[in-house]
Structure formats: structure tokens, C-alpha cells
Amino acid sequence: AQSVSQHNHHVILSEAASLELGCNYSYGGTVNLFWYVQYPGQHLQLLLKYFSGDPLVKGIKGFEAEFIKSKFSFNLRKPSVQWSDTAEYFCAVTSNNNDMRFGAGTRLTVKP
């Protein structure tokens, strides 16, 4: 079955620590990959996306993600987190059909 897995349910970091959130998917064929963020009390916003080309994608607010096809992964990274990065992060995938499948999300708490 097609699925998106996010390994970490809750990550707690101190400011300036480095971040890596895991995302693995199980889809055949061409995929497009996304990371969305949901800040407290706000709606889902796109952080970055991968369609094709350079597998290292840079998004807003200093986030980046690397598509590793052989590992079916699209991990999100940020070298130095800030308190304002506290949010829930969702990995999502679209493939041959039109629906977007989301992972269960990772809650990030950054301590000041």
C-alpha cells in the first residue's frame, strides 16, 4: 500500500541545534514530494517541494530537504533552529493519481 512515514513524532531541541526530520515513502513511479509546516493556530503552509532536477531542495526560512531516490526518502533539515520554528511538520507525496498523501506529522518544540 502507498504510504508516507515520518519516524519522529515529537522532537525537542534547543535553539541553534541542528534539525533533521525523517520522511520515507512507498510509491512506485514518479513522485513529487513536499514538506508543509503548521505553526500553532495557523493553517498548513508549504515549506518546500521537489518535482525534478537537483535533489537538494532549498525552501523558506532556511529549510532544505534532500531527495534520495534509492532510499525512498525526503528528509528535512535546518542547520540551526530558532524558537519560532516550533510547529508541526508534515511530509507529503503525490504520485500518479491526484491525491496528496501525508505522513502523520512531527511536532517540533524548540526551547529558547
Partner: protein, 115 residues
């Protein structure tokens, strides 16, 4: 311009009642999506419209759920005989076009509570 809007923001109803949730997509977006997000989970796909027609309704959990988009803009998600398990945040998203290369813009959601 304005983003995706959803009304109401909160809806509390009793088991067995009928509810309607409304979504106003971004102007000009032809594709519209409904998702359901339960506590501690990611959004779960329900239905996708391309224009006025439902191009993919494979995510609707059962025949109590129905959605329309009669003029290709505003959409209404309708839930009949609500059950406590229907309690969730219902999200709407829209995009310029459907298919593989779309970026979906999400609304704030409607929090449905079935007592």
C-alpha cells in the same frame, strides 16, 4: 489576494445530525481538495474536484459523506447522520490545476465536533 477560506471555523453538532462545511478556494484555482485531519494524524485525502466534477472521490469513508462544487468555485462537504468518529478538522485546499505538479494551498480548516 485572498487565500482559501472555510466556514464555519468551528461546528458542534449532535450525533445523527446533518452538517455542511463550506470552502472558498483561491480565485482562478480549478482544482479543489478536501481532507480530514484527526488528532495526532496528518491530513487524510477525501475528494478532489477538477472544475465542477469530482475527479477522485476514493477517499470518502462511506456514503454519509458527499461533496459538491456546482459552479466550479465554492465547494460544500456534506455529512449526513453524523457520528462521534466524524469529529476532526476538515481541511480544504486548492491549486491552479490538478495532477502531479500541483502546489496545494490550504485553508484554516473547520473543526467539527460531534457530541
Amino acid at each position: 489576494g485572498a487565500g482559501v477560506s472555510q466556514t464555519p471555523s468551528n461546528k458542534v453538532t449532535e450525533k445523527g445530525k446533518y452538517v455542511e462545511l463550506r470552502c472558498d478556494p483561491i480565485s482562478g484555482h480549478t482544482a479543489l481538495y478536501w481532507y480530514r485531519q484527526s488528532l495526532g494524524q496528518g491530513p487524510e485525502f477525501l475528494i478532489y474536484f477538477q472544475g465542477t466534477g469530482a475527479a477522485d472521490d476514493s477517499g470518502l469513508p462511506n456514503d454519509r459523506f458527499f461533496a459538491v462544487r456546482p459552479e466550479g468555485s465554492v465547494s460544500t462537504l456534506k455529512i449526513q447522520r453524523t457520528e462521534r468518529g466524524d469529529s476532526a478538522v476538515y481541511l480544504c485546499a486548492s491549486s491552479w490545476g490538478g495532477g502531479l505538479y500541483n502546489e496545494q494551498f490550504f485553508g484554516p480548516g473547520t473543526r467539527l465536533t460531534v457530541l
